[in-house]
């Protein structure tokens, strides 16, 4: 990888330019979320004290401040409330326009505003079902001792249920 104008960065990884989150345990305690994604599961943390199910997943319950939390499964299929299609200004890394997003009711758990993939422009409508879709993203070349090890990563979007 070359970085024009800054030759000393040739081959260097920059976390500050990474559009996806760090997922390895050294840089994120929410590593199980991403491990579950690989299994096709959409999970979050539930408080064993008060029962609150928060999203994003937490270290501490924001309702009762307990740190006694457990991972639970949430639905992987939701219902589209409405759709947007971005024609201009799609950020680097999110493909060619249109970049499609939908407001999705995840069976009453939360209303997510998420990216929709594997979907043609104009295809998705209010009331349609969408499901979790997990994909690989660039691994992080992370220093482990004196070695540089590629840490694989995944991320998620939703896709139409056909």
């Amino acid at each position: 990888m070359s970085t024009p104008g800054i030759s000393i960065l040739e081959g260097k990884y920059m976390a500050t330019m990474d559009l996806f989150p760090q997922q390895s345990k050294e840089f994120n305690q929410m590593t199980p979320f991403y491990e579950h994604l690989r299994e096709g599961r959409f999970t979050t943390t539930k408080c064993k004290g008060c029962g609150a199910e928060s999203f994003p997943p937490r270290v501490m319950c924001p309702e009762c401040f307990s740190v006694d939390l457990e991972w639970i499964d949430w639905p992987t299929v939701g219902t589209v409330i409405d759709v947007t299609e971005e024609m201009v200004g799609v950020p680097l890394g999110f493909g060619k326009p249109p970049l499609i997003h939908a407001l999705v009711d995840l069976q009453g758990k939360k209303t997510f505003f998420v990216r929709i993939i594997n979907c043609n422009a104009g295809e998705l409508k209010s009331g349609d079902q969408v499901r979790l879709s997990v994909f690989d993203v660039d691994p992080v070349p992370q220093e482990v001792g004196r070695e540089v090890v590629e840490i694989p990563r995944v991320f998620y979007a939703f896709e139409p249920v056909k």
Partner: protein, 391 residues
């Protein structure tokens, strides 16, 4: 003794796609601020708060306040620090300057805000915007400072309340007409309803004209305790009356309502209560028109019209000169542009001028003015109320 706080000077650099660096614009803003009030001696300024959101990303510069102090020719002794709340950084800094002066921690504080957003390659600013919302959970869905979010807000508002594309367009036509008369604004030309309605689609229903641009520039104001303010200016005194700033969620999944902005209602209620002013007493407002739909919802949730009637309200010109609440009289974000840290300060300057009576387009007998910012994924709201008197 209750200390009262006044705005005694304000000025801004030219805003737009600018030649120059962040530090150049801060000097231009300081100069314009000093020129606004020749009676003021900048050497008397005892505190500096600097508002900038992207300084680390687009100028690779942290620890910005001492740099700005050095270039602005001031030597603060009570505070010299930066404040960041993205689009509301400038307003946040004014709130903190107000609090410092009111509490006796400082007497005369400069608040300067601005950004150099354009980089040698344009993709970088859009990419950097992925730092603006929850990076791990919303940015990674391709949402930066996201037109899709406001397109969704507009669609839901249209569905729930019958708001029309023409209502959105009316906001742009008004604000661009105002910016055309403001020599500091990014856009120096007015646009017609026909041009706006046939604009290039960005995210339906939002076209190019529904979205504020990316902007370089800076702005500065000076706040002072009343006793000193009286000696520092021969213009009418403008007071900060009360403020509110609220956040009830950050990530999109935790947004309580897409078309009624709960945090805005809370911030507004706080500001009105502390100022002892009601919405129908406000004579002029600068609200956060990052997208046209925002100004419509702000009219509703700030209490200038009934919930759901914002579209008809702006369509009827009720937030234009001669209407109920002249709004964004200097062009707003849609006309002036939006260098994040500068915006709240730009709004404060226009309200100061309106209340002093020397605005470019004057609202007759303006006594109370309001400024508002939203920031991030509509995740925080900031409201300030200014007046020619304090209650």
């Amino acid at each position: 003794m209750d200390r009262k706080v006044c705005v005694v000077a304000g000025g801004m650099s030219k805003w737009g796609v600018r030649d120059g660096s962040q530090r150049d614009f801060f000097q231009e803003a300081a100069k314009a601020c000093y020129d606004d009030n020749p009676l003021m001696d900048p050497k008397d300024i005892d505190g500096l708060l600097v508002a900038s959101a992207y300084t680390e990303r687009t100028s690779y510069q942290t620890h910005l306040a001492p740099l700005v102090a050095e270039y602005a020719g001031i030597k603060p002794k009570n505070i010299c620090a930066r404040v960041e709340l993205l689009c509301a950084s400038g307003s946040s800094a004014i709130i903190l300057a107000y609090a410092m002066i009111k509490s006796g921690q400082a007497d005369i504080v400069m608040v300067a805000g601005g950004e150099k957003l354009y980089t040698p390659q344009k993709w970088e600013v859009f990419y950097s915007e992925l730092a603006s919302v929850d990076h791990d959970w919303d940015s990674s869905q391709g949402l930066g400072l996201p037109p899709p979010v406001f397109a969704m807000v507009a669609k839901q508002h249209m569905k729930q309340y019958g708001t029309k594309k023409e209502h959105l367009a009316a906001v742009t036509v008004k604000n661009r007409r105002n910016s055309a008369l403001n020599p500091k604004a990014q856009f120096q030309n007015a646009v017609t309803m026909e041009e706006v309605m046939s604009g290039r689609m960005i995210v339906p229903p939002l076209t190019l004209y529904d979205c504020c641009p990316i902007t370089d520039g800076a702005a500065a104001v000076v706040l002072a305790v009343e006793e000193k303010a009286k000696e520092m200016t021969n213009k009418p005194l403008v007071y900060v009356m009360g403020t509110g700033q609220a956040s009830v969620n950050n990530m999109s999944a935790n947004m309580p309502n897409w078309t009624t902005w709960e945090a805005l209602k809370i911030a507004g209620a706080q500001a009105y209560a502390k100022s002892k002013v009601s919405p129908d007493e406000i004579n002029v407002a600068m609200t956060h028109d990052c997208f046209t739909i925002s100004e419509i919802i702000e009219m509703e949730d700030l209490g200038f019209c009934k919930k759901g009637e914002g579209g008809v309200f702006v369509g009827d010109g009720q937030n234009d000169f001669g209407g109920k609440i002249p709004t964004n009289t200097d062009g707003g974000l849609l006309g002036c542009g939006h260098p994040f840290g500068g915006t709240g300060i730009r709004q404060g300057i226009e309200v100061m001028k309106q209340l002093r009576g020397d605005a470019i387009q004057q609202v007759p007998n303006a006594t109370f003015g309001l400024t508002h910012n939203l920031s991030g994924f509509i995740a925080a709201h900031t409201v300030l109320i200014y007046g020619k008197e304090v209650r």
